[in-house]
Symmetry: C2
Subunit: 129 residues, 2 copies
DNA sequence: GTCAAACTACGAGGTCTGTCGTACTATGGC
DNA sequence: GCCATAGTACGACAGACCTCGTAGTTTGAC
């Protein structure tokens, strides 16, 4: 997995280019209830950027950092700094270009997805197997 | 994850009913190169059933058993005994009913998928991250 | 300069996963 | 009954993963 640094947008964190997105990595990144919840909330935000604390995840900040990094290194989200915050956005178009229909199918399969960022899921996206 | 035993088809191994398929479990089952390869070959077989040894995976039999069980318990494949063999088939319709478009998107995203079971991938579906 | 906020780095822990080898259980053919 | 075939059960191991706590960095406000 190569991470390109040649984006000249200031504050943008390194991420894999669209052509190098790996299906196994994307599926692995999505195969976790916490990360699926992050992706769902980002999708529910309708393209808006959210900072890490906006998700109110039931884990510590360092665990949050871990999950956001997994998502970014898999190519699912884009992150850039703004002040002391880090803003997150779904790479919807890149994913649609590389894996057409995949993100849409995953989002459609999510339970309780009311298309709004102000309706946090009660406990978690899925309780696990 | 509940496994139902109330199928009266003889030799059918227990599997989760369609309504109880979990997105996280399905994604986790797909997030492995070996299992993705199994799913790809089953899809390439066009609905035909294949026994476990037909896949010629570069792992031992016990590892193969492990991967087939993960796929079956996630609801991706259906298994039933025939003589000394165990036949495997993709649960295409069940998956399409529960997660519309998901399996199609994953299969479309697979590299080297020539729509034929007689063209085994050279080394693996994906080398990993 | 000082402080708080937001995030990261690092290490540690416990758990899960993928793989193997060996022993074992059907099943079917002779 | 005996044997080969196909697959399972079980234990073991290394490595990856998820989580946490603590310490550190960066940024902006005062």
């Amino acid at each position: 997995m190569s991470i390109d640094h040649d984006q000249d947008c200031p504050g943008l964190l390194p991420e894999p280019p669209t052509a190098e997105l790996q299906l196994v990595c994307v599926l692995h990144a999505l195969a976790d209830p916490m990360r699926l919840r992050i992706v769902a909330e980002l999708a529910g935000a309708g393209g808006d950027e959210l900072n890490c604390l906006a998700f109110e995840l039931p884990v510590t900040k360092s665990t949050m950092t871990h999950h956001f990094r997994v998502l970014r290194e898999a190519g699912l989200i884009r992150q850039h700094r703004r002040g002391t915050s880090k803003m997150n956005a779904l790479r919807t178009e890149d994913l649609a270009a590389r894996f057409p229909g995949l993100l849409e199918a995953v989002l459609a399969a999510l339970p309780h997805c009311p298309r709004g960022a102000d309706a946090p899921p009660p406990a978690g996206v899925a309780a696990g197997c």
